[in-house]
């Protein structure tokens, strides 16, 4: 039997999730990315000394964490984890339902925080928690009985455990605004921040990196034993941080957590460095420049965390820590990876009916990415400066530059979509289905 390339690749594509699933999550993330910077501009006055509380800075933070980071994590993990688990996502309706619940839920949470409107916030929180609970079940179903790549699967389980802590504390914090306190606020905040950023998002990022970085660098899989040690240290760090949240021996426990986290990160970065140095593809372009910067800022976030734990005599320390962790590490890493993944997935999905699938490079528009690169890094620099000198004007400038970068990134995404569904591809698909 010899099948035509089109028919064969169509068969391959049918085993992927339909493109509408990952791309709807990516599309929403791209939109919330822009909205997050706009919300930050609206709340620029409170940015340099932000320490929590309802308002536009908190809305911007959650547009980033829920709207961009978690939204992308859901879309990317549903598409990529099956590579590690060797199990397809069994339901195609669940991810779509999760998106329909989660996307407006994030908008309600952000508006509820920004306006502020506690009832809207609570309604949005219920939708978000329900949607993320559904995602947790979907993820668990895929991880149960996974075959192969156990260390990546273990990262998935650890991220899932962290997500449960994040959801419980999120509900408690949201209910507190309605006068129904759950956990003690300080403890809930501390657990929520650590388990959301370093736990759920961080562990997913580290775990998926063991697939993505070698795949893009074309290198051997990283040393599994060291990856296990890194994961174990990361989990220990999270547990120590959880213990510190209880208020007992807070400072030594936090410092121990930072120490374990630093060792975990050092091992992970060593493995990534080996993959990049030994890979067949040495030139990885702008996207991996962002990834490298993100890794540096992950380390910087741990240094800032130490400053917070030691009560450094600088009023903006906690804000700077947040900027380094969320904007510097997680957002920079994500936009770096996303600009590589989206054309790659688009190429896989656009293949049916073509003699050759469109190349990822032909689907990538470089100009918007160049603009985004400069704006993103400048915006982060300006925000850090705004915190350092306690300047609302500099924070506003940072948010404006960040908005310009996010708009450029949205342009890149729209171009990928347009090129992916170019008329000749549609004609090719019709031809393939007729044949």
């Amino acid at each position: 039997m010899k099948l035509g390339a089109g028919a064969f690749i169509a068969g391959a594509a049918s085993r992927l999730l339909p493109p509408s699933i990952p791309f709807r999550f990516f599309g929403a993330a791209v939109a919330y990315h822009l909205l997050a910077w706009i919300a930050l501009f609206a709340g620029a006055q409170g940015v340099p000394r932000f320490a929590g509380g309802l308002g536009w800075p908190l809305a911007a933070l959650h547009l980033l964490t829920l709207g961009v980071l978690a939204m992308t994590a859901i879309g990317a993990s549903l598409q990529l984890l099956p590579v590690a688990t060797r199990q397809p996502v069994r339901s195609k309706r669940w991810p779509a339902m999760i998106w329909w619940l989660y996307t407006p839920g994030v908008a309600a949470v952000a508006l509820g925080m920004g306006m502020p409107a506690p009832r809207l916030l609570a309604g949005g929180a219920v939708a978000v928690v329900t949607a993320l609970g559904g995602y947790a079940l979907l993820l668990a179903r895929n991880l149960v009985g996974a075959r192969g790549m156990p260390v990546i699967v273990a990262h998935g389980w650890a991220a899932l455990g962290s997500l449960i802590v994040v959801l419980a504390t999120a509900l408690s914090l949201a209910c507190a605004y309605l006068g129904f306190p759950g956990f003690e606020r300080g403890m809930a905040l501390s657990l929520h921040a650590a388990f959301a950023a370093y736990g759920f998002m961080g562990l997913l990022a580290l775990g998926l990196s063991y697939i993505l970085v070698p795949m893009f660098a074309l290198s051997a899989a990283p040393d599994e034993r060291r990856a296990w040690v890194s994961l174990t240290l990361a989990v220990i760090a999270l547990l120590l941080s959880a213990a510190a949240s209880s208020g007992v021996a807070q400072q030594p426990l936090r410092m121990a957590a930072i120490g374990a986290g630093t060792l975990a990160v050092a091992l992970h970065l060593r493995l990534m460095s080996v993959a990049l140095k030994t890979g067949m593809r040495r030139e990885l372009g702008r996207s991996f420049t962002l990834v490298r910067i993100a890794w540096a800022l992950l380390v910087a976030s741990l240094v800032a965390a130490l400053g917070v734990a030691m009560d450094a005599p600088f009023a903006g320390m906690a804000t700077l820590f947040g900027i380094l962790l969320i904007g510097g590490w997680l957002l920079t890493f994500l936009v770096g990876i996303l600009q590589r993944i989206m054309p790659f997935l688009a190429s896989m999905h656009a293949a049916p009916g073509k003699r050759l699938p469109p190349t990822p490079s032909s689907l990538t528009a470089q100009r918007p990415l160049s603009i985004h690169f400069v704006c993103h890094l400048a915006a982060l620099g300006l925000l850090a400066l705004a915190v350092a000198i306690d300047s609302e004007r500099v924070a506003s400038a940072g948010a404006l530059v960040g908005s310009a970068g996010a708009a450029a990134f949205a342009g890149f995404f729209l171009i990928v979509l347009r090129r992916m569904s170019a008329p000749d591809l549609k004609a090719g698909r019709r031809q393939a289905s007729a044949g």
């Binding site: 039997m1 070698p214 074309l218 067949m280 190429s347």
Partner: protein
Amino acid sequence: MNASAPDGRQALGKRWVEADGVHIDVRGLLPPAPLVAILDLVGSIGDTTPVIVHHERDPQMLYPELAEIGWRAVRIDGAPGEVRLKLERVR
């Protein structure tokens, strides 16, 4: 002719040459080793010699990479449970 990768290079798969092209068996390798092994072999071929891939699953991540370097994949008959691909240079 058997052209298996030498000891210590198992991650590059088992390779041999037959009349229909250069064969590579990547079954049993964990991702991304099959992708790396196949692209390593394809990159070493300077002419139009086809590559026959013996795989245990559909290597979806491979196709964009092949397209980028001007190759394409066509599925051909293989043993039960095997995904066998013929890779050809198209430009």
